[in-house]
């Protein structure tokens, strides 16, 4: 039965829908990152955000249930990965870690294994909490996910037995090049695309259209949502870990409201209903943000310099989100996957 549904999903597969976004992400990452070290860092951070937005798309986009709680999976992923790769000296001597639980002091993995462990941690955390959260609908669900974020943050921020509490954990191993984060993101894109096409993804989208009707069709909404919540938690854990490995440090504040806002904004601006929306939203929001950041620092962008006061960037991003919600609630992609512009597809045919 699984095989059958897989094939059924594949019948709607379109080569351009997945391949072009992959090329765009890979191409622009490689091209831009070669231009300067600051751009390389920007690309690395953007890839982390893209991973996070993909994670949100899997759940929010398909189920229609808003989640403010994914930051908690990213936090957990970052903590796991950070503690697994920070050197023993730091764990033993940093002031903020003097109360760290001994097994965590001894916990040691290499970069690859730590990424795997953080993805698993994110997935397991989502599985545990999803059992409660997935029973809720609409607004109650939105607020409960907010509560989840609040609890996770509150505990990690204050407890110095399981992490650096409100301090930064320094010395986390960093990605030596762009290759690993890029490959991870491209892989995740392929997975998410096929997940959206799969029977599970399509069933979940059906529940979004009509709660009652799908219940009538014998779909177990809680279970279907739960599965996608787990997959999404897994990606979020990975995103959190990647973020730690780009910055070389872990600090819980990095994954709280600002992070939640920024990644949700990317998803909504691009359009939550499709992979292309997630990719587009991340590119547009990060791109605009980076350009404004450079202008805030009076650095020319393609030869143009505009002197902006510090703080303009965040205002523009928030404003962009609000304006998109007012004028195009389905995002720039309008909920569609990537399509070649009409004239291009005609050229190909002829």
């Amino acid at each position: 039965m699984f095989a059958k549904s897989w094939v059924k999903g594949l019948t709607r597969f379109s080569f351009t829908e997945i391949f072009i976004p992959l090329i765009i992400v890979a191409g622009s990452s490689l091209w831009l990152s070669g231009r300067s070290t600051s751009l390389l860092l920007f690309i690395k951070f953007t890839l982390c955000y893209l991973m996070m937005v993909l994670s949100l798309q899997v759940f929010v986009g398909n189920s229609g249930v808003l989640s403010f709680g994914h930051g908690s999976f990213a936090m957990v992923g970052a903590f796991v990965s950070g503690l697994a790769t920070a050197p023993l000296v730091i764990k033993q001597h940093a002031m903020s870690l003097s109360n760290l639980w001994q097994p965590l002091v001894d916990f040691k993995l290499n970069l690859g294994m730590s990424l795997l462990a953080s993805a698993i941690a994110g997935g397991v955390f989502a599985a545990l909490t999803g059992g409660f959260l997935m029973r809720l609908n609409g607004l109650a669900a939105g607020i409960a996910t907010f509560a989840l974020l609040g609890i996770t943050y509150n505990i990690l921020f204050n407890n110095n037995h399981i992490g650096p509490s409100n301090q930064a954990l320094p010395g986390v191993s960093q990605f030596s090049s762009l290759t690993l984060p890029l490959v991870l993101v491209l892989l995740a894109m392929v997975l998410v695309y096929f997940y959206n096409l799969s029977r599970l993804g399509r069933t979940l989208r059906a529940t979004r259209e009509d709660n009652m009707a799908s219940r009538g069709l014998g779909i177990n909404i809680v279970r279907v949502r739960w599965m996608s919540f787990m997959f999404s938690g897994l990606l979020a854990g990975l995103a959190g870990a990647m973020y730690a490995h780009v910055g070389g440090a872990v600090q819980v504040q990095d994954y709280y409201l600002g992070f939640t806002f920024f990644t949700l904004a990317m998803l909504i601006v691009g359009g939550s209903a499709s992979l292309w929306g997630a990719v587009l939203g991340t590119i547009v929001v990060s791109g605009v943000s980076q350009i404004l950041l450079m202008w805030e620092q009076s650095t020319p962008v393609l030869g143009v310099t505009i002197h902006l006061p510090i703080g303009t960037r965040a205002i523009v991003i928030a404003g962009m989100l609000v304006v998109i919600l007012l004028w195009r609630p389905n995002g720039i992609s309008n909920g569609n996957e990537f399509k070649l512009p009409n004239f291009l597809s005609k050229i190909k045919v002829s």
Partner: protein
């Protein structure tokens, strides 16, 4: 001991006011207004910036500014989103909240602005061997008066009846002549006035105003309306009150563990939502409909 109880009651009252402010707007348009936090913040900024004026003038000024901000918020943003999916409105209000925080940061800087507002407030009052601060006594009296006033307004005036009716069923209320635009604008004005009071109470206790000043209060007030029953106004107030009292008691009793009092509160939200998705005072599963 008396001080503890009085603190708990006045904190409870403050949260009840904040929850009521959120609940009023939720009632008429099913919107959870995260940007309520920025209304509280602007009220506090106004008080700090107009500190040289007499306290009553400064406060009146802050009420005007805050309710004006609330009305503009409705007019420019939320009016266009009326009838949109609750998730869309939720994200929009989240975005608006961030937007205003950044605007405040640009205008007033990221560092706290402070001023000593009504220094006599921190004085103490002693009688029968117990001493309480002026501030907590005034807060307690103020919140009781305000809650009674709100009660009167909701139960005895035409506006209150319209508000309750519109919260239950806006469509039918309109068929009877309730003017949607007026009512929603008025609900925002009242929400703004309540935010001004909340902001004033907060700023007296902690005159360090920064762009995220109102955030904690708003998130916890939100917890309050979820606990109490999001579509019932008395429920909102009660829920807010419960949150304030519990938080105050947790802070006293948990000692060093008080840093986790938010976690306990949020955990309570989980459990209540699971058992009663519509909150403690709800009759049915009203959240489902939303």
């Amino acid at each position: 001991m008396i001080q503890t109880i009085l603190n708990a009651l006045s904190l409870g009252g403050t949260y009840a006011l904040a929850s009521l402010g959120l609940g009023l707007v939720f009632g008429v348009m099913r919107l959870v207004n995260f940007a309520y936090s920025e209304l509280i913040t602007i009220a506090a900024y106004t008080l700090v910036m107009t500190n040289q004026l007499p306290i009553m003038v400064s406060f009146l000024f802050s009420v005007v500014v805050t309710s004006l901000a609330a009305v503009l918020m409705e007019l420019l943003i939320y009016r266009r989103l009326r009838g949109a999916a609750p998730a869309i409105m939720l994200v929009a209000s989240f975005g608006l909240s961030k937007l205003l925080q950044q605007v405040y940061e640009l205008c007033f800087g990221a560092l706290p602005r402070s001023a000593s507002i009504a220094p006599w407030m921190s004085g103490e009052l002693k009688f029968a061997g117990v001493s309480i601060t002026n501030a907590s006594l005034i807060t307690a009296i103020l919140t009781i008066v305000l809650l009674l006033a709100m009660r009167y307004l909701l139960n005895k005036t035409s506006f209150g009846i319209q508000l309750k009716a519109a919260s239950a069923d806006f469509r039918t209320a309109r068929l009877l002549g309730v003017r949607a635009n007026h009512l929603i604008s008025l609900a925002f004005v009242m929400s703004g006035v309540l935010a001004a009071f909340v902001g004033a109470i907060l700023v007296v206790g902690n005159p360090q105003v920064e762009p995220m000043f109102g955030m904690n209060m708003t998130i916890l007030a939100l917890v309050g309306i979820v606990i109490g029953g999001i579509s019932s106004l008395p429920g909102s107030a009660l829920g807010g009150f419960i949150v304030g009292v519990i938080l105050s008691l947790l802070n006293t009793w948990l000692g060093n563990g008080r840093v986790y009092s938010y976690s306990w509160l949020f955990a309570a939200v989980f459990i209540i939502l699971l058992v009663r998705p519509g909150g403690l005072l709800s009759k049915g599963q009203e959240m489902e409909r939303v």
